[in-house]
């Protein structure tokens, strides 16, 4: 097995919500204590509902936001905010909405060259242009697109541009924050194929954030299921989808609609909604919606344990 390129341990990110005249300041625990490793050529998927902290994780791993606690080691170097230059060389991010993430006033050529202008100051203009044109070709755009503005492109093409921009500095890790959820099915498959191709060719490690389990099942190698800022299950894809151990994972899998009218519909209906992250229950965060919960569950949060197929539950399904 190859050495991990990213190692995160106990990563946490809390936000303080300032109180007003009548309310006290509160802490939102967006992410509390997540461990993972990323290996070259492999994809780790983070799944969960909105508010589970998956996008916060993406922002922490790219140092868009500093972690409140925990450590992050990238390529053998312990990362702190002062090492941002190194971060940019190794970790890049592709955002969900390609309409919002590209500057409408820049031509595609400029968008692609900007990372080089900032991080490779010694590079000549001609070299930069050559590199940008090479990248346009790599992501499946045509050479004439170099001089166009982003509004002239469709959603799928814009996402290709965003991917190209992320690859300009030859990063080793790509954080993909819901890269296909704003796209139509027929375009989604084109972008997923491109990502598979690029991973094989450049040996990239992907941190793939998604709420769409059918995409994750197709795309990932390992999966972490998150609930309210904590990892509740972590397993290789095949094992998780074949037999989830955490009740929440099982419910999540069973409620994902399948494009097969003959499939058995034994949905597990979860009652209620996610508790507020300002007011996370003392014990297991899922206890109030869980059909297996006991008094023990409400007392203290369970630890993520197990060897290959880890689960944070006192009453795992197997």
């Amino acid at each position: 097995m190859t050495a991990p390129i990213v190692q995160a341990s106990e990563l946490a990110r809390f936000y303080t919500v300032k109180g007003g005249v009548l309310s006290k300041a509160a802490t939102v625990k967006a992410l509390s204590g997540v461990d993972f490793e990323l290996r070259p050529g492999k994809t780790l998927a983070i799944v969960g509902e909105s508010g589970c902290g998956k996008s916060t994780l993406a922002r922490v791993v790219t140092m868009i936001e500093e972690p409140t606690s925990g450590s992050l080691t990238i390529d053998g170097v312990e990362i702190s905010p002062s090492k941002w230059a190194l971060m940019r060389e190794t970790v890049q991010i592709v955002f969900q909405d390609p309409y919002g993430s590209l500057n409408p006033r820049q031509r595609i050529g400029q968008i692609l060259q900007e990372p080089l202008i900032i991080n490779r100051r010694e590079m000549s203009a001609a070299d930069r242009e050559a590199r940008a044109r090479e990248m346009i070709d790599l992501v499946g755009l045509r050479p004439e697109h170099y001089d166009r503005y982003s509004h002239m492109f469709s959603g799928g093409q814009r996402q290709r541009i965003a991917i190209a921009r992320a690859l300009m500095l030859n990063p080793k890790v790509l954080v993909l924050d819901e890269p296909v959820s704003a796209l139509d099915v027929s375009i989604q498959s084109q972008i997923l194929n491109l990502l598979v191709e690029l991973q094989e060719r450049l040996n990239l490690a992907y941190l793939f954030i998604s709420h769409d389990l059918s995409v994750v099942k197709h795309f990932a190698d390992d999966v972490i299921v998150m609930y309210l800022g904590r990892a509740v299950e972590k397993a290789p894809k095949e094992k998780l989808f074949a037999a989830p151990r955490h009740p929440y994972s099982k419910a999540l899998l069973s409620t994902t609609p399948r494009a097969d009218p003959d499939a058995r519909k034994d949905r597990i209906k979860l009652e209620g909604e996610l508790p507020s992250p300002m007011n996370i229950p003392k014990g297991c965060a899922f206890a109030q919606r869980c059909w297996l919960a006991t008094e023990e569950c409400r007392a203290a949060p369970p630890e993520l344990s197990g060897s290959d197929h880890k689960v944070a539950c006192l009453h795992p399904l197997w």
């Binding site: 027929s186 995409v215 197709h218 999540l252 409620t255 609609p257 399948r258 494009a259 209906k269």
Partner: protein
């Protein structure tokens, strides 16, 4: 007689660069108690055709139809005043984003009671009673106290329940749900879809579900029509559609789903949906179709018989028999 009958509906928008046809000859019929789904990618005209029915399009839109009738009443012939008596009462609609469809300045109770006052003319006490009943029916806990909350104080799933309660307030005969669960999480999506199906069963209303999610279609709908670039390209019962899709577009769309993938590389549909300026002369799908030939590129196909899913394709018979592969 079906509940809703639309024949040859066309919607054109006047834009700065000329007429743009968003809906092109769409037919739709829904019976009482039927659950019909319209599925298509963005730009396929699925929302616009229903907004045209509701009369919610801006003045730039030109709507023409051979027939646009609800319970035998021709909606194109009646006055706006008469139309408003039907819309919101007998035909109701749920929109995609509950957060932006509710008015942030008023409590949800005020908003649901408004419909009851205007359409049913109930007095204050009855309105309050009925509003509580409706909130209870859509599964909002503590309905009485929830009436006094504002939309921003509730979650997306709760707001969508309020939208549904408002839509069913006057016991509509037809409910149009435009991407009702797209903005919601899967566990909440399951709750909302179950709720819609249950209400359909209880009240016997027709339900039109507009969605882009093939999974939602497979799990909830009975009959499906597929739209592409403003045209209806296929219509079948849900099981038949997933088992034997007729139109090459439907086939390609189903194959592109990650859950149907057999290898790491997904089958794709090359190109993009045509827009205002690159609308093909013949079949609208021809630039992306693997079977397309000169006939497809020059002559627009007409819908086939029901046996072949009313597919808008010149070669649907040959594709079915395997002559073209």
């Amino acid at each position: 007689m079906s509940l809703l009958d639309i024949r040859n509906l066309t919607v054109e928008f006047a834009t700065a660069s000329g007429q743009f046809r968003a809906v092109d000859g769409v037919d739709l019929s829904v019976d009482k108690g039927e659950l019909m789904a319209i599925v298509g990618e963005s730009g396929s005209g699925k929302s616009v055709s229903m907004l045209a029915l509701m009369g919610l399009l801006p003045w730039t839109a030109t709507i023409t139809a051979d027939q646009l009738s609800f319970e035998g009443i021709d909606l194109t012939k009646i006055s706006a005043r008469d139309r408003r008596k039907i819309i919101g009462k007998d035909i109701a609609m749920i929109f995609q984003e509950p957060m932006s469809s509710l008015n942030p300045c008023f409590t949800v109770g005020f908003q649901i009671k408004e419909a009851l006052r205007i359409h049913l003319g109930l007095n204050r006490k009855d309105r309050h009673q009925r509003a509580i009943e409706l909130f209870d029916q859509v599964g909002i806990p503590a309905p009485e106290s929830r009436l006094n909350t504002f939309p921003h104080q509730m979650s997306g799933g709760m707001n969508q329940r309020v939208m549904i309660a408002m839509a069913i307030a006057c016991k509509p005969k037809l409910l149009i749900a435009d991407e009702p669960t797209t903005a919601l999480d899967v566990t909440i999506q399951a709750q909302i879809l179950d709720l819609l199906v249950r209400l359909r069963d209880e009240q016997g209303m027709g339900l039109v579900l507009i969605t882009h999610d093939m999974g939602v279609v497979a799990e909830t709908a009975e009959r499906v029509q597929v739209q592409y670039a403003g045209q209806k390209v296929e219509e079948q019962a849900v099981k038949d559609l997933f088992r034997t899709p007729r139109h090459p577009y439907t086939t390609a769309l189903l194959n592109a789903l990650p859950e149907r993938a057999t290898s790491k590389m997904l089958p794709t549909i090359p190109g993009v949906v045509p827009g205002q300026f690159d609308r093909p002369k013949g079949c609208l799908f021809s630039p992306r179709c693997q079977y397309a030939d000169d006939l497809c590129r020059s002559l627009p196909p007409t819908p086939h018989s029901a046996e072949f899913g009313k597919a808008r394709c010149h070669y649907v018979e040959k594709i079915t028999t395997g002559e073209l592969a």
